[in-house]
Symmetry: C2
Subunit: 505 residues, 2 copies
């Protein structure tokens, strides 16, 4: 058994692990990274590529089929070559995995150990059967993963998670998508536009991360107009029959319906990959998902020398960038015990459907809870269907609601479904992060005419309701930071009903 | 002859005129708007719709023809229905003109006079043959227009300007585009993608508003790869022959070439529509284009009671939004003599080609002139072709260069050709307007993975070159405001060689 003593051990070779390693190395040379496999990253390929890559193909199909209103005529038909779609997606996945692997290979061999890590003491890790690492500080950056064996109602290999889609060699004929989180909506719209028959089942009417009933209603209607979407579904049973699954559910009119699909996709984020770490030996403070609680400003757990970052942690809605989290954790593990705190970044959440969904700052629900009691919530609205705004007819659906505090005019948050929402989200998040007021935002430059003109329109709408003589000023800190929302992002539909993540294990 | 005495007269019923009228009315009821025709706006339909609308159709065609790499196969051919393309563009134009007209109609009849206005004294205007207006303050907001009769080298109706494209009932077979300003590039790429044979002739290698040789070279190569583009053209002759024009020019290898086209498009902004105003009677200070010089913070001309705004003025590169200019001019005409100054907005310039071009802040050329002598210019670069960045294969061309001041790290400007440049431009312009440093910008939130990730990459590249111990600090005011650039935006290719605007009159 090889014995190794270091200042910092980083468990995980994905995005968060890599940046933790690099940050720790700024403080000490004695850093080791423990990577789970040859590549080790669960973050890059799994977390974003399947639904995002399917969406790229789906948009190509959609736009090829909707060019006629511009005078661009397709003489013939637009056909989806499922094998080619999947081949392209796999090749893109391989490219991304290859890039991650290159980064891992750039780390000196003496700083790397391959194998599964397990805590055997507060400062000791067992790596496979071959090595023991004794580390003054430890960063957990193991990413997220579904347990390898999934059985649920005997659906067996007909039940898929997001990452399982990479295993398709061709597109299926029909699927049921369980969940209307970002991943669920993206997969559902993408497959639908690629000619797969799609049925989407949500929970309690929730659409993506939205909380504003007005924006949510708009989004739900838009998606339900395109593909079968039951936002508040009651699934009665799912039964495997041959290579298909029979689903019985209650429709909106409380009529029992039966459909038959090739696959059921449990469309939600994978849980943190921490089950095999032996954390139970450490007496760490855990949250209700059994994930170590960490200070989002330092990534420090309840054990001062243990840090956690990336998808392995519960910080996702707060600090969405695994790289940033890894950097904070690695930096603090390196400089320990003199920790540096990182200011909260204004939260951004984006769903890359068409139209896109975006949320920034605090949610409508949070803004209402905090500002409505004193009648201090003011709100602006803009509808992207208003004439005179956009020249692209395919791109004119959407709604943007902006929330501010009466009196101070402080911009506190926004929810949006609409064109270029990912970009509008960044513009608004930078303003939110700087605690700008609506009037300051109206002084910012705007190129005319553009999507950003709609942003000005909504800001003007808020400004018209602003009464600067009002003395609401609850805004100290409370309104400009904190998790995006406590609901749907932390608890996907699978974690309450009709499924629960536990059932998948 | 009707006589009317008012506090403020606004000449022009377009975007700038409307907002000037509304702003002046906040201060006094005695405001009159003089609109040139039934609608009067030259701004909305003329300035942006033809090239932008053509571009929407062109992108639809391009994407329908380039979907195969995603596995989306068009069985058959993609055909451009020129008549339908033009019908759709005209209907969109009519819609926008209709909206402008509605706004005009909402103004009370007592505040409106229709007819051509002419100064007959410093405070007096003659409207047509029917009315004389005596006004304490006057706002000129007449927009821009090409003189109605154009003759140049006997090309007659074969020579078109941007707005003439609205007269097409069908797309032509071939055109020559003179000018590589925003309008020239947009028209050229749009028509090329709509199956029109296009030849583009530029001046001195200039591409759009760019000044960074590195970004310019990238943009030129990208466009020249797609359609015939001679960025530094020497046209020897243009001769009409029947319904066509024969153009003789020198190619890049100094070989004489001859082409035959249906139309020659003089693709540059129309000059300010001020020729018929009788300004010569006023002894106003004029710039080298004979346009009244105005203070960009107040819109006040050299005559304290006369203001000018919108396309009629020379403020275009500085304050791109006619609405904003109109508001400043109208507000100051209303509150005169107690003027309010408006802070410079950080300049944004966007070309809506694919990839898009964008510039914000001061140009590379200006940054070099001011910062290079003391070795205080630091620069970051990002190439959008770098692997691992974008999932959309059709969208992976581009380059973004960011300029900052050594020592302070102040962000001073950026030039870009690439995907979503219009949105990146707004994000950067908001930061520039707030005089942020590169390190402050790196603290801003970023959703991963996205175009905005490339922004972070380029900011990190600058930050790596930043030496905070350096004591360059030229940045007081000088670097953060001022016109975007003094060159190409003010002087389109038509105004030096091979054509000059005067020749078109």
């Amino acid at each position: 058994m090889k014995q190794l003593t270091v200042d910092v051990a980083v468990i995980g070779g994905g995005t968060a692990g890599l940046s933790a390693y690099q940050a720790a190395k700024q403080h000490t040379d004695r850093v080791v990274m423990i990577a789970g496999g040859v590549c080790g990253t669960t973050d890059n390929p799994v977390d974003y590529t399947p639904s995002k890559l399917l969406m790229a193909a789906a948009q190509a199909a959609y736009h090829a089929r909707h060019s006629e209103s511009f005078g661009v005529i397709v003489d013939g038909s637009v056909r989806i070559d499922g094998k080619q779609v999947m081949a392209q997606i796999k090749s893109e996945r391989d490219r991304v995995v290859g890039l991650a692997q290159q980064q891992l290979e750039a780390i000196p061999a003496t700083d790397k150990i391959y194998g599964a890590a397990q805590f055997i003491g507060e400062n000791s890790l067992q790596i496979g059967a071959h090595t023991q690492v004794h580390a003054a500080r430890i960063v957990i950056a193991t990413g997220s993963a579904w347990p390898s064996s999934k059985t649920w109602q005997d659906l067996d290999d007909r039940l898929l998670t997001n990452d399982d889609l990479f295993n398709w060699d061709d597109l299926p004929t029909s699927v049921a998508v369980l969940g209307t989180d970002a991943i669920g909506l993206e997969i559902a719209q993408a497959l639908h536009r690629l000619d797969v028959t799609v049925h989407v089942f949500g929970v309690s009417g929730q659409i993506g991360p939205l909380t504003d009933p007005d924006v949510m209603r708009y989004a739900q209607q838009t998606f339900a107009d395109e593909f079968p979407l039951i936002a508040d579904a009651q699934i009665e049973s799912m039964t495997r029959q041959g290579d298909q699954v029979i689903i019985r559910y209650m429709d909106d009119h409380l009529q029992s319906q039966t459909i038959r699909v090739d696959y059921v996709i449990a469309a939600t984020d994978a849980p943190p990959a921490i089950e095999q770490l032996g954390l139970e030996r450490l007496n760490l403070a855990l949250d209700d998902r059994n994930v170590p609680i960490a200070n989002p400003r330092t990534m420090q757990t309840s054990k001062p020398h243990i840090f956690i970052a990336g998808d392995a942690s519960s910080q996702q809605p707060l600090l969405h960038d695994a790289e940033d989290q890894g950097r904070i954790a690695g930096d603090n593990a390196g400089r320990w015990p003199n920790l540096q705190t990182k200011e909260h970044s204004s939260p951004i959440s984006v769903v890359l459907t068409e139209p896109q969904i975006a949320m920034i700052g605090i949610s409508f629900q949070q803004a209402s809870e905090r500002l409505s009691p004193c009648d201090c919530l003011i709100q602006g609205e803009v509808n992207f269907e208003q004439p005179g705004r956009h020249q692209l007819r395919l791109n004119n659906k959407g709604r943007l609601n902006v929330y501010a505090e009466q009196g101070t005019g402080l911009f506190v948050g926004a929810e949006m479904v609409g064109p270029a929402a990912e970009h509008v989200a960044h513009l608004l998040a930078w303003a939110h992060h700087q605690k700008m007021t609506i009037l300051q935002m109206l002084d910012m430059p705007c190129y005319h005419p553009d999507i950003e003109e709609a942003v000005r329109a909504v800001l003007r709408d808020v400004a018209a309701k602003l009464d600067i003589s009002s003395d609401c000023a609850l805004s100290d800190g409370d309104l400009s930071a904190g998790p995006l929302n406590n609901g749907p992002l932390n608890n996907g539909p699978l974690s309450n009903a009709p499924l629960s993540t536990g059932d998948l294990g």
